[in-house]
C-alpha cells in the first residue's frame, strides 16, 4: 500500500488508467479495506442474522456477527408463566424442528419433578424427535444447496418435508406449532394412521434421498464450492463449544442420544456419523447420513412401539384428557389448577440437554418450589455454533460466507431466544 503523501499522483494515474480502460494498472482504485454489512434482511443469512464483514478485495479478513434482531425474551417470559404455559413457546424457538423442542422441554421439567413417562410415550417421543430431525436436516441440506446454486435439491427436499409435515398435522393437528408434549405424557395418542403414513414415507425416503445424492455428490460445481471451505480444526471446534453436526464433522463422535441416553435410545440401534474433513462438504455429508440413521431409528421405533397409556397416572401433576375436562367436575378443577398454579416441583435445579438437529439443546431450570420456574436458561445450539463463524470465514471469499452460514444451519428464533 502506498503512503498517503503519494495520493495526488496516484489519483491522476488511476484516472488516466480508467480513461484508457487499461486494466493492467497496478494501483487498485479501491486499495483499502471495505466493511460490508450483510443482513439482517438478507435471503442467504437464514433469518435475521447480521454480519459485519471486513474485506480485502474479495478475501474476508474479519467478521462480526450481530444477534438480537429476533430477541423476544423467552427466558423472561418463562419466569412469568407456569410450566405448562411455556410449552407453546418452545415451538417458536427452533421453528424448523418444533417437535424435538417440545420433547426437550418436557424431559427437562419431568427430570425436575421426578416423573417418568410410560414406555409408549417414550417411543412416540423418539419418533417425534427423529421425524423432526429429518424435517430439519432436509431444510438444512436443501437451503445449503440453494446457497451455492443448486436450487433443484431444495425443491426435492421440500417435497419430502411436506410428507413429514402432513404426519405432524395428523399427529397433533398443526404443521409447525405442534405443542405436542405435555408434562408427564403427550397431548394425544399416536394413531394407526400415523403409522401408515410414516411407513409409506420410509419406503420412499431412501430412494428419494438417493436421487438428491445422485444430483449433488458428483456435481463438480457443488463440490468445488463446498470442499475445503469453512474449515475449523478439531481442537478449535471443542474449545468453541460446538455441538451437533459441526462437531461430528470435525471428527468428534459426540452424540447425546448415545453418550447421555434419554428416552428409549439405548434400546435402538444406530450409528453416530462422523467425518474428519470439517469443511462445509463434511457437514453436508453428516446431515445426509444422519437422515438415513434417523430413518433406521424410525423403522425400529415404529416396529417396537408398545401398547399402553401415554400419560402418567398422576392427577395432581399431569393434565387430564380434554374430553374429561369438559364433562367432569374433578378433572375441570385439576385442569384449572395445573394451568394456573402449576405443578409445584421440588426446590432444586437441573440441566437436561437433548441432541436436537442442530446440536445440544438444553434447559437449565432453577425451581423455588412454586408453579413457575425461578430461572430458565435455554441452551441454544444455533447461537453457540454461530460464534464459530468468524473463525470459519476468515481467509475465505465473500461467496464462501453464504455456504458456511448454510452449513452451520442457524435458526435465528433459537439463537436469539
Amino acid at each position: 500500500m502506498s503512503a498517503r503523501t503519494a495520493e495526488e499522483p496516484r489519483k491522476s494515474q488511476i484516472l488516466v488508467a480508467l480513461e484508457d480502460q487499461d486494466t493492467t494498472v497496478s494501483l487498485d482504485p479501491l486499495e483499502n479495506e471495505m466493511v460490508l454489512n450483510m443482513g439482517p434482511q438478507h435471503p442467504a443469512t437464514h433469518g435475521v442474522l447480521r454480519l459485519l464483514v471486513r474485506l480485502d478485495g474479495e478475501t474476508v479478513t474479519g467478521c462480526v456477527p450481530e444477534l438480537g434482531y429476533l430477541h423476544r425474551g423467552y427466558e423472561k417470559i418463562a419466569e412469568n408463566c407456569t410450566y405448562h404455559e411455556f410449552i407453546p413457546h418452545t415451538d417458536r424457538l427452533d421453528y424448523l424442528s418444533p417437535l424435538s423442542n417440545n420433547v426437550a422441554y418436557a424431559l427437562a421439567v419431568e427430570k425436575l419433578a421426578g416423573i417418568e413417562v410410560p414406555k409408549r410415550a417414550q417411543y412416540v417421543r423418539v419418533l417425534c424427535c427423529e421425524m423432526a430431525r429429518i424435517a430439519s436436516h432436509l431444510v438444512a441440506v436443501g437451503t445449503m444447496g440453494m446457497d451455492v446454486g443448486a436450487l433443484t435439491a431444495l425443491l426435492w427436499m421440500f417435497r419430502e418435508r411436506e410428507k413429514l409435515v402432513d404426519i405432524f398435522d395428523v399427529l397433533c393437528g398443526a404443521r409447525f406449532t405442534t405443542s405436542y408434549t405435555r408434562i408427564g405424557g403427550l397431548m394425544q395418542d399416536w394413531t394407526s394412521q400415523c403409522t401408515e403414513m410414516l411407513k409409506q414415507f420410509l419406503t420412499e425416503f431412501n430412494d428419494d434421498l438417493a436421487e438428491v445424492e445422485k444430483l449433488l455428490y458428483t456435481n463438480k460445481i457443488f463440490i468445488d464450492r463446498c470442499e475445503n471451505v469453512g474449515c475449523i480444526s478439531r481442537d478449535d471446534a471443542i474449545a468453541l463449544g460446538m455441538t451437533g453436526p459441526i462437531l461430528r464433522a470435525a471428527g468428534v463422535p459426540r452424540d447425546l442420544r448415545r453418550d447421555c441416553p434419554y428416552l428409549v435410545y439405548p434400546d435402538l440401534d444406530f450409528e453416530v456419523i462422523t467425518f474428519t474433513e470439517s469443511d462445509v462438504l463434511a457437514r453436508f455429508y453428516v446431515r445426509m447420513e444422519e437422515m438415513k440413521q434417523s430413518a433406521v431409528i424410525l423403522r425400529q421405533a415404529v416396529e417396537k412401539l408398545p401398547e399402553g397409556p401415554i400419560n402418567v397416572n398422576d392427577t395432581k401433576r399431569v393434565l387430564p384428557k380434554k374430553e374429561r375436562t369438559y364433562t367432569r367436575m374433578e378433572e375441570l378443577i385439576h385442569d384449572f389448577m395445573l394451568i394456573n398454579l402449576g405443578i409445584d416441583p421440588p426446590v432444586g435445579e437441573i440441566y437436561q440437554g437433548i441432541e436436537s438437529s442442530r446440536g445440544e439443546f438444553g434447559f437449565y431450570i432453577v425451581s423455588d418450589g412454586t408453579g413457575q420456574p425461578w430461572r430458565m436458561k435455554i441452551r441454544s445450539p444455533s447461537m453457540i455454533n454461530l460464534s464459530a463463524l468468524p473463525t470459519m470465514v476468515k481467509g475465505g471469499m465473500v461467496s464462501d460466507i453464504v455456504a458456511i452460514i448454510g452449513s452451520i444451519d442457524p435458526v435465528m428464533g433459537e439463537a436469539d431466544k
Partner: protein, 160 residues
C-alpha cells in the same frame, strides 16, 4: 463418578469450595468467585476429569441481600460423558467475576449474554459488548426488578 470428581476438587481446592449438592444426579459445586479461572483450568487440564467442552454459562438473580447474583457454568467431558455444574455468588453492588475465555474461547458469547441480561461484568473478557439488546440500552432485562412488560420509552423508536 460424581463422588470422584468432588473428592478431587476437595483435595485440590480445599479453601475454595463453599458447598456442593447433588439433585437428580446433577452434581453442582459452589466456589469462591476469585478462584473460578483456576478451578476451570484444573477441570479442563486434569487428565482424569478432562472437562473440555463448555456447555453453558448463565446468570441467575437470586434476589437476596447477600450474593444476589450467581454465575452458573455447565461443563461437559467428552471422554467421560459427564456434566458438572459450577456456581459462584456475586454481590449486588459490584457483580464482577474473572472471565474464563482464556480457558475456553467458546465462553465468549455466553459471558456477553450474561453481561447483557444481568449486568455482570467479566474481568478480562476480550469483547464485552451487549449480545441482544442495543448497545446504549441502560437496563438489564433478566434482573428480577425489571418489569415483564419492559420500561416504557427505554428503547427509542427509529425516527421517520
Amino acid at each position: 463418578m460424581n463422588q470422584l470428581i468432588l473428592e478431587k476438587l476437595k483435595v485440590r481446592f480445599p479453601k475454595s469450595i463453599e458447598g456442593s449438592d447433588e439433585f437428580r444426579g446433577d452434581l453442582s459445586v459452589r466456589f469462591r468467585s476469585e478462584d473460578i479461572v483456576k478451578v476451570c483450568q484444573f477441570l479442563r487440564d486434569d487428565s482424569d476429569l478432562n472437562f473440555d467442552l463448555i456447555v453453558d454459562i448463565c446468570g441467575v438473580d437470586m434476589y437476596r441481600p447477600e450474593g444476589r447474583f450467581e454465575v452458573v457454568y455447565h461443563l461437559y467431558s467428552i471422554r467421560n460423558k459427564k456434566y458438572i455444574r459450577l456456581k459462584v455468588s456475586l454481590n449486588e453492588e459490584k457483580p464482577v467475576v474473572d472471565s474464563v475465555t482464556s480457558v475456553w474461547s467458546g465462553a465468549n458469547w455466553h459471558e456477553r449474554e450474561t453481561f447483557d441480561m444481568y449486568g455482570i461484568e467479566f474481568r478480562g473478557h476480550p469483547d464485552l459488548r451487549r449480545m441482544y439488546m442495543p448497545e446504549d440500552y441502560e437496563h438489564y432485562p433478566l434482573r428480577k426488578d425489571f418489569p415483564l412488560m419492559g420500561i416504557p420509552d427505554s428503547i427509542p423508536l427509529p425516527r421517520k
